[in-house]
Subunit: 293 residues, 4 copies
């Protein structure tokens, strides 16, 4: 196991005391969730990447090929989009699912996409390898119950104002409904500070890794909303022990139909993948500094 | 420079547009703040460590020797303690300053300690190598003005509910008052989630590094309030590009006079120093996985 | 119109600038939403009251008769309950709807109840006079769209972390979907302070009354979670200009299946109705005090 | 006592269990704090009014005469201003104190003004009838201790991110230091929603009235930051049981040196004083509506 200081002591075992027996960690063994042949929660961290919204065949195929070449293991993309206003672009729907499927197949990587409506669960599960529950629907219990009855692995985003316990309780709904293949995703929470889109809560990732055996990934794109911070925050996510990151990538972010400001270019994504495998900053220690007089 | 993706483009130069000319970054060059012979903001990150409160000679000297042996560059410790209730231990005052000075000298490392009152600035500046402004006093403008007139470097903690701009504006008070040797310290913010003591805001560290040339360090002890998470969150701090971390260490945390739950043991601190120099989790990439069928 | 200082000036008309044309206030005229023969948004404020959950025929009928006798205009009660944990009581479902209907009929007042699932919209609309969208589902856009196609008036609770604009945008989904009979409900937001269950945001009520012509009511029960504060906060709600309040009442709160701590007894509710019609505290003014020497 | 539903039961008496013996309520009897001949916490609520900053003799005298004529009992005004940026107007200092004193004397009402620095406590106490501790200094313990040793009554603003308990603990510092004449002031807290300047926490006022015998007033100006909402929120404050309100008034808000957007005109203040004495909205009750068919 990687060395991020997660210890499972008697204290942690007592965490089933939070009343969530299925998600509570019972041993040091981590759950590995397989998305086709991609293991999440195993020895290595993984990267999911792709556009916020599926817009056109060209856009999503180009992105899929580029991100998989750069090392992404899973293609992400939205066909159904939860939007604050009814006048914003609501996604291509089924057409988007078909394009995303085609793009994933051509790039040779599985796909993950959000499902927003109970009615759409069946069709989305038919096309996608992994179903995403979005932050706004984390406590849409009807949807959780419906999705838990599919055989697809689930990516459960943390609600923007969900406590750690509420997040784990939402996962408990999924396991209780019969689906054990749940990956948690921290994507930033709502706080008083609007310097960035949300406040990325990486300490919660370390805490959740103590409390549950389920894998946890991090979404620095929605957390920060700012392209120039994705590299640093993704690296911090690996540092804190996350099992992967999910980032937004677009061939032409300035003209993206949604979330352009936080999307990486194809080249920017390739650079970040390079940075993620380099060592973090060195530490000044007695072995590399002269003694203090 | 370390590779955390901090770029200084025209966009960032325009940040002086926030109306804080002295703290705004003008170039890629980072400010190095020297605390005696210890550089903060240079090539390597540094670690500050020590007890929450100075309690006894034995306690602080033992801690100082242990943390310096393990690689800490600066000794921290509180002689004046800001406490929510008037009935909590308020610190040893001048006696604490003297003990901390002695401990730092015996360990051969400089010391940092908090000053809470305008009246105490002179005496604290006499004994300590670096003055800390605590989170509760970040907008105590009378204290900021008084401290800015000393010749000691300053560790400016972010207020628990300060926006990034308010934090930088507090630093601007210090530079405007004549003291350029300011190190910013992220220590967690107050949010709706009380799973941990505070919410560690590491993305703000990356943002602030873009906006200012001043060094930024991270305090995972106050941010999380939980010993078992210090290692993971400290590593994340290095991952995001922090110039150092400051952690609480106590020879006997269970009997500490304050903040025991978040204090590391001497041995625990040594282990974390080892972890901080190991690589972060590996990444699953095309070069190390078979192609998807 | 009542005298709470809501003025519709050119400034407010410009509020359609927030991009929500249907909910934006165009004149001083307020929308009146009729729930059968009960007007919400008219000259007088109204009170909705009833148990958190429908438990038994006896419980809900006794409550209905008592609250209507004390002056409640609408009976509330939950048949489908959104619960953080899958192991908590999830509501009686259709059986609960039938009992609530019976209770409302016997008391001679209309009923409002929450609908949580797209699949249940039809059956709930069949039994209830008004449909409630709960705080957790405020951005469940699939549910909003489905409910907007019914002919029932809708009580739209503010999400616990929804901004005023997000709340109004959720209402816009309802109007855009064809249903103009929307009543907004402030029920407390999530903040750093957990002294009470939530933070009641009464200034937002005054702001929303400026921005929209839709009626706004206040739920002091969920906002405070504390029985002894319902009277004072309900009176403040009327003071700020709310069109009504919705409170939880139970014949035996200590044995309620949910939310007992915030439920009023039948007698407590009667007392509060009395208090709500008394004048607020007098003001010391020049006419009633001697001149200062 | 006024009828806002505040009951002192065994439960509330147990509140000394929060470890703050001096501020904890022991009986139904409320503390009355006298500011010269003005009682705060008595039968009638009081109004404090005046400009954010003292700017000129003409401005402060004109305001003082107008607000006292309209019914204000105390004149407020800032001579020392806590400002986020060092480049903002910092107040007139001693000159401002002298002008405020003169204005209060000419209007025949006592004055309250903020003290920000330990060094200024003596001079401010010499000129002002009541000393204000501002929100940013609520946990400036050195200042609290210093102010507690004066003989002036104190207006203690709640910190923008202070919990109820932290606020009461700050008051405990004052009583513990020897000054029993403390008035608490709720002025809005920092939350995720920036629709208004802060989030006015009126339920906390009702809670605090249960927990302590000290008077509590409300500042709708800083809480909302919006002139058009002052009337409605001030009325809500009386509805919730506050012992008074403190509002910003300026002869020419558009040209105020600080906080113009939230300042009332002299005429606007007079209108609000009229509104505050009118009854709140009527309630639809069985006695005034026909039976439901």
């Amino acid at each position: 196991m990687h060395d991020v200081g997660i210890k499972v002591s008697g204290e942690q075992n007592a965490k089933s005391a939070i009343g969530l027996p299925l998600v509570s960690r019972k041993s040091e063994r981590n759950k590995i969730v397989w998305v086709r042949d991609v293991p999440i929660g195993g020895e290595s961290a993984i990267v999911m990447a792709g556009p916020c919204s599926v817009e056109t065949r060209e856009q999503v195929v180009e992105t899929a090929l580029a991100v998989s070449r750069s090392g992404a293991s899973i293609l992400r993309g939205g066909a159904y989009k939860p939007r604050t206003s009814p006048y914003d672009f609501q996604g291509l729907g089924v057409e988007g699912l078909i394009l995303l499927r085609e793009a994933g197949d051509r790039a040779g990587i599985p796909i993950v996409t959000e499902v927003m409506s109970e009615e759409d669960v069946e069709i989305v599960a038919e096309h996608a390898d992994m179903l995403q529950i979005g932050a706004r629907n984390m406590q849409n219990f009807a949807l959780l119950k419906r999705v838990s009855r599919t055989h697809r692995p689930i990516l459960l985003k943390r609600g923007a104002s969900a406590t750690v316990k509420e997040w784990l309780a939402a996962a408990e709904y999924l396991l209780h409904g019969g689906n054990e293949n749940v990956v948690l995703c921290e994507r930033g929470i709502k706080t008083f500070d609007h310097s960035l889109r949300n406040t990325l809560d990486l300490a919660a990732v370390a805490l959740v890794k103590e409390m549950t055996h389920l894998p946890v990934v991090v979404d620095p794109s929605h957390a920060t909303g700012k392209r120039s911070l994705i590299s640093a925050t993704a690296k911090a996510a690996l540092g804190v022990g996350a099992d992967g990151v999910i980032v937004e990538v677009h061939p032409d972010p300035d003209n993206a139909w949604s979330d352009g400001a936080q999307s990486l270019t194809l080249l920017g994504f390739a650079e970040i993948m390079g940075n993620l495998t380099k060592p973090v900053r060195s530490l000044r220690t007695p072995t590399n500094v002269p003694a203090f007089a």
